[in-house]
């Protein structure tokens, strides 16, 4: 794993000696391939040049010595739970993947980091750690997969107590599978892809696939109210969780049975889900599982413009026939996806591509600078999938949509896995960027997309960014009453003295714009410290008071002191 960038150390984008982009490693479909279109897209979109490089500074910089609570360390030692106060371990757990966090690391800047790391291996270890932390007044920050994009893992600089990073990665076992009720009881430190692989071995899956699933953990999903790509079939995390155990300074919080629904006052699970590590550590989760789908099929539809595309998605949601996943990319993102096409293997494929393009743009009269693409993923038994597919394509046709093949669909989904790697490439060449999301009622989807994208462009211009930014979005989830919209935004910062500051101002403005257009503060990234200034207006002062009083009861001494959310 990289310590100052995304993902596996062996996988990264680079421009080779010939100036062609390639993706290293063997892990992804794109791995080992040349991507001929990327350089042109990169240069023309950002005005960036391969001549201007900004490589990371590899010296990890001076890490401040740890502030240790000797009594705590002594007593913890006696329990035999592994721990470390090595600089490397501490720095690794001091950040998530917000742009400013990665940018600082690349520049070799390190701020407040945890003073030590502990690795509990089971629920009882966590109970002991939390007890000791309470006894010795030590600050505990749970750490799962480290994929946060809300500054949730940043150590509060004003924290004077010793900060212990509680790394759940060793709690990664499936404790049991209940085939009668289709549930699995799993330790919360398990990483998404491992959980899926292990369940697959028994013929099951959870179907919960957030874009970060290679690295993010089950406990993290629960603590941030995560959402998965295939939620249309399997549901979001709150639909999947049957039972949770959370260790808090007051003791262990859990329900007494596994009934599928209860009318027992406000659901205490909802204090846990989205608590972002402020109340305790999630240690074990019972969640629903499903038999693995028999058949999977990707698909894609081209629309003449974004408006038509959104109208189609709305209709699909209305008829409640959304496939496992349906996403609508705007024109900019379509072009981006196009630039990531690997080198074609034969003249025949390239001829075919040309023919397709001719058909769509010339014969059907789609304007390449307006058209947009919806990517689809169907799952289930073969017959139903085909039937379902037809239903969706029929609806699409009513909105001018043309089926555009499986390949385009699959590439669309791949994009979400490699985009984080691409950001690191951009950072090598003066380009910084980030993604953010929201959820919004259907009737405002078009307005919010237009206004937020335009706001980004305007803010960049006002803040002195020399080149037009990439400002793009996709409608990434559909619901009965609205949709989740995902934005990407990136710009070339050459000529700016404080690029991260500019970046933060633009992101802040974009969030204000989202809220002003009736969008939510977050659909699935969470609040962390990055967005907590907007919490009172989001949940009202009474709501804040309710959340605070829970915090005050559960954790009066602020042991879980990461200061997220409130």
């Amino acid at each position: 794993m990289k310590w100052n960038g995304w993902g596996y150390s062996d996988s990264r984008f680079l421009f080779n000696k010939k100036g062609q982009a390639e993706f290293t490693g063997k892990r992804y479909r794109l791995s080992g391939m040349i991507i001929p279109g990327l350089k042109d897209w990169f240069e023309s979109t950002f005005g960036a040049s391969l001549q201007h490089k900004t490589p990371p500074i590899l010296n990890s910089g001076a890490v401040p010595p740890p502030t240790l609570n000797e009594a705590f360390v002594e007593e913890l030692k006696s329990t035999g739970i592994p721990m470390s106060h090595e600089a490397e371990d501490r720095v690794f757990r001091s950040h998530g993947h917000c742009l400013h966090e990665i940018f600082a690391l690349r520049e070799g800047k390190v701020g407040r980091v945890p003073d030590m790391v502990v690795w509990p291996s089971c629920h009882n270890d966590v109970v002991k750690i939390v007890e000791l932390a309470c006894k010795h007044n030590v600050c505990v920050m749970p750490y799962g997969g480290g994929t946060s994009v809300s500054s949730a893992l940043e150590c509060p600089p004003e924290e004077t107590r010793s900060i212990v990073s509680l790394d759940t990665s060793q709690m990664n076992r499936i404790l049991w599978i209940d085939e009668k009720n289709l549930t699995a009881h799993v330790e919360a430190g398990i990483v998404g892809q491992d959980l899926e692989r292990l369940l697959n071995e028994s013929g099951y899956c959870t179907g919960h696939e957030p874009d970060s699933m290679e690295f993010s953990s089950l406990g993290g999903w629960v603590a941030t109210r995560a959402s998965g790509m295939k939620k249309n079939i399997y549901g979001n995390i709150e639909d999947l969780v049957v039972h949770v155990k959370m260790v808090t300074p007051r003791g262990v919080l859990e329900k007494s049975c596994q009934g599928p629904r209860m009318s027992t006052g406000p659901d205490v699970h909802h204090f846990i889900m989205g608590s972002e590590g402020t109340l305790g550590v999630v240690t074990e989760v019972t969640m629903k599982i499903r038999p693995m789908p028999e058949y999977q099929k990707y698909g894609s539809v081209v629309f003449p413009n974004f408006e038509q595309g959104v109208a189609c998605l709305r209709e699909v949601a209305k008829q409640r026939c959304a496939p496992a996943s349906i996403r609508l990319m705007d024109n900019e993102q379509f072009q981006f996806g196009h630039a990531l096409k690997p080198q074609v293997s034969s003249i025949f494929t390239s001829f075919l591509d040309g023919l397709k393009k001719f058909y769509i743009t010339k014969f059907k009269g789609f304007d390449p600078s307006y058209l947009c693409v919806a990517t689809l993923l169907f799952e289930g038994d073969r017959e139903k999938v085909l039937q379902h597919e037809k239903q969706v394509y029929d609806i699409a046709a009513k909105f001018g949509g043309l089926a555009a093949g499986e390949d385009n669909g699959q590439r669309g989904y791949m994009l979400t896995f490699v985009i984080a790697y691409l950001r690191d490439l951009g950072m090598d060449y003066y380009v910084i960027g980030e993604s953010f999301e929201t959820s919004v009622p259907w009737d405002r989807v078009l307005d919010i997309c237009r206004n937020v994208k335009a706001r980004i462009v305007r803010e960049c211009k006002d803040k002195g960014v020399q080149f037009p930014p990439l400002s793009t979005c996709r409608v990434t989830q559909t619901y009965d009453a609205g949709a989740c919209v995902y934005f990407y935004f990136a710009f070339n910062y050459r000529g700016l003295s404080e690029p991260v500051h500019v970046y933060e101002q633009v992101e802040h403005a974009a969030r204000e714009e989202i809220l002003a257009n009736g969008g939510s503060l977050s659909h699935h990234h969470g609040v962390g410290k990055l967005r907590k200034e907007w919490m009172p207006e989001t949940v009202s002062n009474v709501g804040m008071g309710m959340l605070k009083s829970v915090k005050d009861y559960v954790d009066p001494n602020n042991i879980f002191g990461n200061r997220n959310l409130l």
Partner: protein, 652 residues
């Protein structure tokens, strides 16, 4: 940022303004026919194709908003929805424009001929045109011209056509529809018609606002309307009307468009075509109803010289930046946006402040001719020497010296003065006087207002008739003086406040300033809530010109400041006297209640009596505009109450 233009519009800094180009010059040198038929390819908002009238109408009729209101009306009245729908359709039919390029070309030809006869030049700031062109491509644009003449909107379209820009769609009052043929012509040149009042009619309101929003949101054409609502008969800017401004801001506030550009346009006429007409109207000599035949009778105006017109396209103002930090747009998140809702207080005050700023921006870019300064001096002279047995009028030399003095002051106050600096002042004076020879008389080297001529001896006029015919001339003169009022207004309020205050204490002066400002806020464009800024600006200007010394807690007029302060006080004096007169009327004569209709004739009679007896010297108090403003101010201040169409005055 575009907004700064508005926020700092009262800023004491001297503004840098664009240069003008005369657009008639080319018309005089090339064929009007070729010009009318030339290739016209305007740039459009984000490449949107102009929308056919019928498509626009059906978009309006199919809108969620209209559907909702139709159902509501149908429920409330028990009428079938189909019937209400038809009514909506008929309203739209009556309202909608049907812009046709051929009509525009026809007008382009005819107007070229007319303009060349009437005017010496039509001067436009081309940089403003370029800014506008840019704005049109980026965001929906709303043109907000000042309104002094019927000519205004034809002139605007003419300019837009000339510079190859998208033709505006214009909100016009229904009264034009009275002129059958002209009405239709105007409709085809892009006007749409709104009834003057439709207070409680929600169906009408909905059709109207949807129609405007549909045009705006889709960026089919620049929208144009007059913030002042009607032509100002006095050349003073009128208190802005907020209805349409509310409508055009709504799509931005609700997130339906990213931004809207508001472009204030200042149209200044060296001589207004309707000059005498307005004066008569203000005096209650009834105006002829707009009719086509009336218009043709008016063609004698064609033989006169009306000087030149200056049209200044101001800095486009972004509604987004205006609203930044003023309006929390989240307030629209909790209900469907198509439900009709009364704007919140926050939005109302935002729209109102914006309106004042926009009218302020119009005023600021009004071009003032030397005549405005001359007539101000002549009027003061006229009133000061009334009835005294000395020689009437001012000598040319004296007038010239004084006007040069006033020129320098007004420049320091930031006036947009068009004074030809390369010409000796005496020539500037004489050419101004000759253009307005109907209003001034020069004899034996002395200049005076042409009031005596009006009542030539020999004609058997009653004193009252004589007074009225003099008043026509005077009110015409006053309308020119009014063109420059906004430049002097704040210093004049301060000067009068100093005059009225019981001491030189700053607080005392401020209180009296604040009282006057409040009293006159129906009379002049004074943004609500900006008293302190206005006071500071007035102090700044008077201190800068050396007329005033302001210490920690005292305000003192300097030795050489007396002349300036005297001039400024005299400028406001007619208004003060006028307000006092109307109040006296209400106390002395209007015991009990009075209908609104009775008010004007009664107060007029009262004032005529006082004018004839010599106890009032300002004939301009006869202006019904002033009388209405007093009433509105008294209503606002709670001194007078409205009881079902009656006006009842409290003991003042």
């Amino acid at each position: 940022m575009a907004s700064e233009a508005v926020y700092s519009h009262r800023g004491p800094m001297l503004k840098k303004r664009d240069d003008f180009e005369d657009l008639l010059e080319e018309r005089r040198n090339s064929s009007d026919l070729r010009y009318a038929l030339r290739c016209y390819t305007p740039v459009l908002y984000k490449g949107v194709a102009p929308c056919k009238t019928n498509m626009l109408k059906s978009m309006v009729l199919q809108s969620d908003q209209l559907h909702y209101v139709i159902n509501q009306v149908s429920k409330e009245t028990g009428r079938a929805t189909g019937e209400v729908q038809e009514e909506a359709s008929a309203i739209l039919e009556e309202m909608a424009h049907s812009l046709q390029l051929s009509t525009i070309r026809f007008f382009a030809f005819i107007l070229s001929k007319i303009f060349k006869t009437l005017f010496r030049g039509i001067c436009v700031n081309e940089e403003g045109i370029q800014r506008l062109q840019q704005a049109i491509q980026e965001h929906p644009v709303v043109l907000l011209p000042s309104h002094r003449s019927y000519m205004d909107f034809l002139l605007m379209s003419y300019i837009m056509y000339t510079y190859d820009m998208a033709l505006p769609v214009i909100a016009a009052g229904m009264d034009f529809m009275g002129m059958k043929f002209i009405g239709e012509m105007l409709r085809m040149s892009g006007a749409f018609f709104i009834r003057r009042s439709f207070g409680g009619d929600k169906l009408y309101w909905c059709v109207f606002s949807e129609y405007v929003k549909t045009i705006l949101k889709n960026g089919f054409a620049p929208l144009e309307f007059f913030l002042e609502g009607t032509r100002s008969r006095t050349s003073k800017s009128l208190t802005p009307k907020l209805g349409l401004l509310n409508i055009v801001m709504d799509p931005f506030l609700k997130g339906e468009v990213f931004d809207v550009s508001l472009v204030p346009v200042s149209i200044s006429y060296e001589r207004v075509l309707e000059e005498a007409l307005y004066a008569r109207e203000l005096l209650g000599i009834p105006k002829p109803k707009e009719s086509t035949s009336g218009l043709f009778k008016a063609r004698k105006v064609l033989s006169e010289d009306y000087g030149s017109i200056h049209v200044y396209f101001g800095q486009p103002i972004s509604v987004r930046s205006l609203a930044q930090g003023r309006v929390n747009r989240c307030q629209f998140s909790l209900a469907p946006r198509h439900l009709p809702r009364r704007p919140s207080e926050e939005v109302q005050s935002f729209v109102s402040d914006s309106a004042y700023r926009l009218v302020g921006a119009q005023e600021e870019n009004m071009v003032l001719k030397p005549w405005v300064l001359l007539v101000s001096l002549l009027l003061q002279d006229h009133h000061q020497h009334r009835g005294v047995g000395q020689k009437r009028g001012m000598s040319l030399d004296e007038l010239t010296t004084q006007v040069v003095w006033l020129r320098d002051i007004s420049r320091q106050y930031g006036a947009f003065l068009h004074w030809p600096d390369h010409v000796p002042p005496s020539e500037v004076v004489s050419s101004s006087l000759s253009l307005h020879r109907g209003l001034v008389r020069v004899s034996e080297g002395r200049v005076q207002l042409a009031v005596e001529q009006a009542g030539e001896p020999g004609s058997n006029l009653t004193p009252e008739e004589e007074l009225l015919s003099q008043a026509v001339i005077l009110l015409s003169c006053i309308s020119y003086r009014n063109q420059g009022l906004h430049v002097f207004l704040r210093p004049a309020l301060l000067a009068s406040a100093i005059h009225a205050a019981s001491s030189n204490q700053k607080q005392e002066v401020f209180n009296s300033f604040s009282f006057l400002r409040n009293m006159f806020s129906n009379e002049f464009i004074l943004c609500p809530g900006a008293t302190v800024q206005d006071f500071e600006e007035a102090c700044y200007l008077l201190v800068k010109t050396g007329a005033l010394q302001v210490t920690q807690d005292e305000v003192l007029v300097t030795e050489r400041g007396h002349r300036t302060v005297g001039f400024l006080t005299s400028m406001l004096d007619p208004f003060l006297q006028g307000y006092q007169m109307v109040c006296r009327f209400l106390c002395e004569e209007a015991t009990g209640s009075l209908t609104e209709k009775q008010f004007i004739p009664a107060v007029r009679k009262f004032i005529i009596r006082h004018l004839l007896s010599g106890s009032l010297r300002y004939t301009e108090v006869l202006s019904s505009d002033l009388q209405k403003n007093v009433l509105a101010a008294l209503l606002r201040l709670g001194a007078v109450r409205k009881v079902k169409g009656f006006v009842r005055c409290h003991r003042l």
